[in-house]
Symmetry: C2
Subunit: 373 residues, 2 copies
């Protein structure tokens, strides 16, 4: 009874499932988009995830199919399910991660706290939303956005006139521009049979719309906040029927509310700290969850864990060329790289540091990551 | 400048280098003895490590060659060095791990504390050693022994008459039967350029000559013991010119001395706890050391870490079939398996548990491992 998990997508999230898969004894296969992807070591197939035949053939050799990203089209997902393949998260859940309007509607039904929002089909509808919300709003394309792409803060409807045109009259999502104290993220794992486990809520720091740092647990978080965030995460995982890891990105407002910003149904950048700072990493937890195995403990193993992304990396050099200097200066840093060539703004790795003191851990992790600039 | 490490031998020690290699961004290749070995995922070649041509061809695609075991013959090692290949540990160091008589002589030169010993060439020499040591002794074949094989406690020379015959007149190693309180192990990493790092000394529990459990740090160890063991380990690593990980197995005597029992020049069972209980695991440390990169911190990440081996495993079943029950009962257990079929006495995996209290961690780890009996 070898346990076989197939991952669609060969990026760094698939790559980071390799370590726990090898240690646990799970056979991991990857359908990569091309040669030389991050998860090349486990890539057993290369092909187009938008092609049902390719994906069905890949699925034949595994017990469960899961994902490195949320971009597999619904018809392909449905074809897998119809062929009797276990797919986690399944198409019904993934729909909420693929379309932000569908997600907002469902969260509203669940009563989850979220920013004011509206589906706006043209500039006049957007103008009305702006007028109701102090003249500024966040406009998002419902589908296809990531890492700040497909997201724009606007004060005039004309700023997204091209998006209305590109989307052929389909509605865009307009959201209240939330005045927040900071951003948080809640990781939750859910099994197909229903069992759930929540990690402690963390603080995330974004730069230019991209996650730059994560502080775990969220500094100064009260027990109540930890409890409220965990419950919210679990109610969303349950309400949306998520299987595997779910990341709920949150705003913490100036008036002490938490509002749901975005969802991701897979291991997520805001959970990389768990590799070195929790009993069970989010990558092992995802494997356990999609295999419907009992979930591992989510307890932190240190008082503080900090993750700092290596963004861009040393241009024109290989990242490994910086190892000697970084390791010499920072023996406490745990360095993770993704096998990707440096390119401005690209996530090419991250550094985790754990310790007794969050401020010291932040300093150490930032300093170590800076060696890769 | 991709960093490329080649491992000779496809067992679980090579397998457990995969996770840190992937995370760090080191390209790992393995020369496996056959198909379907523990380290199959990274096996880029299958062949006989006793054949110089096979090993030289394997070495062409890597920056440094290292080992899953100490059995590569000296002529093959020498051929690698002569061909300009970086080999860590090198032949001069490995000689001490390959021949226990050579090791004993060298440790005596270094002044390292060890049991009384003698090279005995026939039954009459062994009888003289027995007479001088209370009528009992441990006899070891200098080469080829492991996990209790090639080791015998004797009170009459005739008990190893066949060994004298098998070794064609070559001397055997006779050692004083040490009355010890417990067994300890000291892990040290050493770079080719000389830098060293020592882990805290641990207690090892053997059953039938095989490592069964490891408690880290060694319970009740005084600061002085930790310091003495670390210094001893580093002086041996330095004195023997070891590069990579060195494990020094020790006796702690009833009268508070530590004596060197055995050496291993590679990651070692007594260091598996570092995967989940230290800032840098012995497997990452070995990669760093053989690549001559700065060593990672060896600090424990918890007050207590316990490793319990899964010996034998569920006969006639696959080990993964026990995951659900074990994980359900023990969410704190970190389960590691080696992709090996269960067989009586065989090391097929281990469980690590970390926590605040060593007794609780022992209980938890033993109970979790017992699910795989």
């Amino acid at each position: 009874m070898t346990l076989r998990v197939g991952v669609i997508g060969g990026g760094q999230l698939a790559r980071m499932m390799i370590a726990p898969a090898v240690e646990l004894g799970v056979e991991l296969s990857v359908l990569a988009e091309g040669e030389g992807m991050s998860a090349a070591l486990a890539a057993t197939a290369v092909g187009d995830y938008r092609d049902a035949g390719t994906v069905l053939a890949f699925a034949e050799r595994v017990d469960v199919v899961t994902f490195d990203h949320e971009h597999v089209p619904q018809p392909v997902l449905r074809a897998l399910v119809e062929a009797g393949v276990a797919v986690h998260p399944g198409p019904d859940a993934l729909r909420f991660a693929q379309d932000k309007l569908v997600m907002r509607r469902r969260l509203a039904e669940l009563g989850a706290p979220q920013p004011d929002w509206a589906a706006v089909s043209d500039t006049s509808e957007l103008r009305a939303f702006l007028d109701d919300h102090g003249g500024r709003a966040v406009v998002k394309t419902p589908r296809g956005g990531y890492d700040g792409k497909g997201v724009k803060v606007v004060s005039r409807p004309e700023e997204v006139a091209d998006w209305f045109a590109d989307f052929g009259g389909e509605a865009l999502l307009a959201e209240e521009l939330v005045v927040f104290r900071r951003e948080l993220a809640q990781q939750v794992a859910r099994r197909p049979s229903g069992g759930m486990a929540a990690y402690p809520v963390v603080e995330t720091v974004q730069r230019d719309g991209v996650c730059a740092e994560v502080l775990a647990p969220a500094p100064g978080a009260s027990e109540k906040l930890v409890e409220v965030a965990a419950r919210l995460g679990m109610s969303i995982a349950d309400g949306l029927g998520v299987t595997g890891m779910l990341a709920v990105e949150l705003f913490e407002t100036e008036d002490d509310r938490i509002l749901v910003n975005e969802l991701a149904m897979r291991p997520h950048n805001s959970g990389h700290w768990t590799q070195d700072g929790a009993v069970t990493s989010q990558f092992e937890q995802h494997l356990r969850a999609v295999l419907d195995l009992p979930l591992g403990a989510t307890d932190p193993t240190a008082d503080a864990a900090v993750m700092v992304n290596i963004l861009g990396g040393p241009q024109g050099e290989e990242i490994t060329g910086r190892f000697a200097a970084a390791m010499d200066a920072h023996p406490l840093a745990r360095i993770h790289t993704y096998g990707k060539a440096p390119r401005p703004g690209r996530k090419v790795g991250h550094v985790n540091v754990t310790g007794d003191d969050i401020d010291e851990a932040v300093y150490e992790a930032r300093a170590a990551a800076a060696f890769f600039d």
